[in-house]
């Protein structure tokens, strides 16, 4: 359970030395309680206090890094149950299962699919993040060969090794030293051996429990063996079990401060039916999965899941914005209509969607209004005649148009005169107030 500022204050030196940058120890304690300061900023804190406070001030869900370099994935550190409360912090990783029973060619092909999965979506590079190499054969040599293949074919892609056999784990991890890999498969029968291999390879240990009781037991035992970095699996496989266990785990970690489950969760969405797999993976994205294991790479499935992850992990307090520029919808010619709106993403999506639907090619100027919708932006002085005219002038769009005509949203009809004054030679036309009036408006002009 998180400590209050006063509880923390009692353990500080109370010298008010200001070395931490705060005027008093109490002020520093308050900052610590709000997680806005870190204990190592205090040079004089006692070892005992450090231990006690360190434990209490650790994030309720331990941060874990999977992989290294620019393909590394951060997990954990979540602070809320619902995304409207505060931004979900670290987007989950998608991992694709590759069995060591596949032929080398088939395994290599799957790795290549993972490498080719990267797409650019609304300015972010998204991809299948990790390989889940599974010791289905039970043969240590086969798992090792697969790990070696991954190191050759997909260097830099984070790897999760899945086995119940510590010797197989050790051999496979030998090819992944310094890679921040995950060793998944630690259970009641092999914990000590697996913990040893994970420690030797500096890998995160993946606990594979049968239920939440066993999970809490195993993480405590692993901790006793000196393991700090873990990812956890409660054994949930059916969608309803995933929702139940993930919800209990998140609540226990955040609201009860129950440390034994304060780790990122690994979920398995693998299904024969790929459409169902997509939906179960979607559930894990929305409800607290940190690693989601999939059975295959499919471009359509990736696109849907990447988009969902992007949606769920956006900051609810910052309006989603679209880049300021003039977007072409369809293939507009010199005579096509030219419209303007603001850069709130919903405004853009709705306006561009209506234009796309009515199949009248247009140019749509999207002006930076700090993510506000048309009326709000106008009221806040971000969508004014002078700003609009400056944007239009600087865009150099004039040269592409046969007739200099700009269609403005009906809600800001009041601006038409002022824009005409500031844009000599331009005709300003007032469009419909709502986007759903655009198809009729545009078709009537065609």
């Amino acid at each position: 359970m998180a400590l209050t500022g006063v509880e923390i204050f009692k353990m500080l030196p109370k010298t008010n030395c200001k070395k931490c940058g705060q005027p008093t120890c109490l002020a520093f304690a308050m900052k610590l309680a709000q997680r806005q300061a870190s204990l190592d900023q205090c040079p004089d804190v006692s070892e005992e206090a450090k231990q006690k406070l360190g434990e209490a001030s650790a994030p309720p869900i331990r941060p874990i890094k999977l992989g290294t370099g620019d393909k590394a994935v951060k997990m954990g550190e979540e602070t809320v149950l619902f995304r409207h409360e505060k931004k979900f912090v670290n987007p989950c990783a998608f991992a694709v299962k590759i069995e060591d029973t596949l032929t080398e060619a088939d395994a290599a092909k799957k790795m290549e699919e993972v490498l080719a999965s990267e797409i650019d979506r609304v300015g972010q590079k998204l991809r299948v993040d990790a390989l889940f190499l599974s010791n289905d054969s039970g043969d240590a040599a086969k798992l090792e060969a697969l790990a070696k293949l991954a190191a050759q074919k997909a260097p830099g892609v984070p790897v999760i090794i899945s086995t119940k056999n510590p010797d197989a784990a050790g051999a496979a991890l030998g090819h992944l030293s310094g890679q921040n890999a995950v060793l998944y498969g630690a259970d009641a029968g092999n914990l000590a051996g697996m913990a040893e291999k994970a420690k030797a390879a500096k890998a995160t240990l993946g606990i594979a429990a049968k239920n939440l009781d066993e999970l809490s037991d195993l993480t405590e035992k692993a901790k006793g063996l000196g393991i700090e970095d873990m990812v956890i699996d409660s054994g949930a496989r059916k969608a309803g079990e995933i929702l139940r266990d993930n919800t209990y785990i998140r609540r226990a970690a955040l609201k009860k401060g129950f440390k034994p489950v304060g780790y990122p969760v690994i979920n398995f969405a693998l299904r024969e039916d790929e459409m169902l797999e997509t939906l179960v993976a979607g559930l894990a994205v929305e409800k607290y999965g940190s690693i989601v294991v999939l059975g295959s790479v499919r471009k359509w499935k990736d696109l849907a899941l990447f988009s969902l992850r992007q949606n769920v992990y956006t900051d609810p307090q910052v309006p989603m914005q679209v880049q300021q520029k003039i977007y072409k919808i369809g293939e507009p010619g010199p005579k096509s209509p030219f419209l303007i709106t603001t850069n709130f993403s919903l405004t853009y999506f709705i306006v561009s969607g209506e234009i796309e639907n009515c199949k009248v090619p247009c140019r749509l100027a999207v002006m930076d209004s700090e993510g506000l919708s048309v009326l709000t932006a106008w009221a806040a002085g971000k969508f004014t005649a002078s700003k609009i005219s400056q944007f239009i002038t600087e865009s150099g769009i004039e040269g592409e148009l046969e007739q200099k005509e700009l269609i403005i949203p009906g809600y800001v009809a009041i601006l038409s005169g002022a824009i005409e004054d500031k844009l000599p030679g331009w005709k300003i036309t007032v469009g419909p107030r709502e986007a759903n009036g655009l198809p009729a408006f545009l078709k009537s002009r065609a």
């Binding site: 226990a252 179960v280 559930l283 359509w300």
Partner: protein, 314 residues
């Protein structure tokens, strides 16, 4: 170490709402916990999925989904019967798209005739939707409500601009009413209050907080739904206790991801699966965030969502 499940219980409960008559009647809502949280409370009813039917040829639907209905569209009765008999629809949502002034301007009287014929031909519950033209919907929904009297249909959507007439028509003909506002918990609350102040029974309301598609504002609908459900349960706010609708199909099947051929965008993969996945992911997300009733278009997406619902039962 034993794990004590941190269960949540709430004072509030979602109203249970019935649609239709006879053996094919359905009911939604009734739960006293968040969606699919049967592990800590009561979830007596499964979500219901209505298949969408239109009164005109759906020439604005992309090929992937239009193809499914090519033998029946143009005839709303045949289309509705096909959905019920061949696709196993639990409910039909008849969208009177052709009444829109820009899409044929079919008269309210003619729309009412269509409703009568469809009602006579199907046994499953009907949801009657206007064309989302606030002014025309007033006339169309009043006439169609009369035609649907006694059928225990839902009609909609009542919005801020036209709720008075539509709510009065639903009340006079003993129908359920869909109240839609735009992506804001307070607007939803306000509209539900205005409608109940007219004497409309809040237990006959369905809240539509406005849908959106994956990648096109999904997170807004998702979070508004979660907030409405939490207010209904944790704060026991009766105004927000009607079950919720997600009108998924019409938002999904107009976005680029459900239309662009693979040849144009090879990195997006197969169009057929992509479209179905887009509708199914959008739909299942809104079930997770709190919707009890869905309106969808592609039967393969419906099938996937039904399998998902079955798996959500623990």
């Amino acid at each position: 170490m034993p794990f004590t499940p941190p269960k949540e219980s709430y004072n509030g409960k979602i109203f249970e709402l019935g649609l239709g008559n006879g053996e094919k009647a359905v009911a939604i809502g009734g739960e006293n916990v968040l969606s699919f949280h049967g592990f800590e409370g009561s979830t007596p009813r499964k979500p219901v999925i209505a298949l969408e039917v239109q009164d005109i040829v759906p020439d604005d639907w992309p090929q992937t989904v239009r193809e499914v209905y090519k033998d029946v569209y143009g005839d709303p009765v045949a289309w509705a019967v096909y959905c019920q008999d061949n696709l196993g629809a639990e409910a039909i949502a008849l969208r009177l798209a052709g009444t829109h002034p820009d899409r044929g301007d079919i008269s309210a009287e003619q729309a009412a005739e269509t409703v009568k014929k469809v009602l006579a031909a199907i046994k499953v519950p009907l949801i009657i939707l206007g064309s989302n033209h606030a002014e025309k919907d007033t006339a169309v929904l009043v006439k169609t409500a009369e035609a649907a009297k006694g059928s225990n249909c839902a009609i909609g959507k009542a919005q801020e601009a036209n709720y008075k007439t539509i709510a009065a028509a639903a009340m006079a003909n003993d129908l359920k009413l869909i109240a839609m506002s735009e992506l804001d918990i307070n607007l939803s609350k306000q509209l539900n209050i205005l409608i109940t102040q007219m004497g409309f029974d809040r237990e006959k309301l369905i809240t539509d907080p406005m849908c959106s598609a994956l990648s096109y504002g999904l997170e807004y609908t998702y979070s508004v739904m979660e907030r409405i459900k939490l207010a209904a349960l944790a704060q026991n706010d009766p105004v927000l206790q009607p079950p919720m609708l997600a009108d998924v199909g019409m938002y999904v099947w107009k976005v680029k991801e459900t239309q662009a051929p693979e040849a144009d965008l090879p990195e997006w993969g197969a169009l057929a699966e992509r479209g179905i996945a887009w509708e199914a992911v959008t739909a299942s997300s809104f079930l997770i965030s709190g919707a009890e009733l869905l309106i969808m278009r592609h039967p393969a997406a419906v099938e996937a969502v039904k399998k998902f619902i079955a798996e959500m039962e623990v």
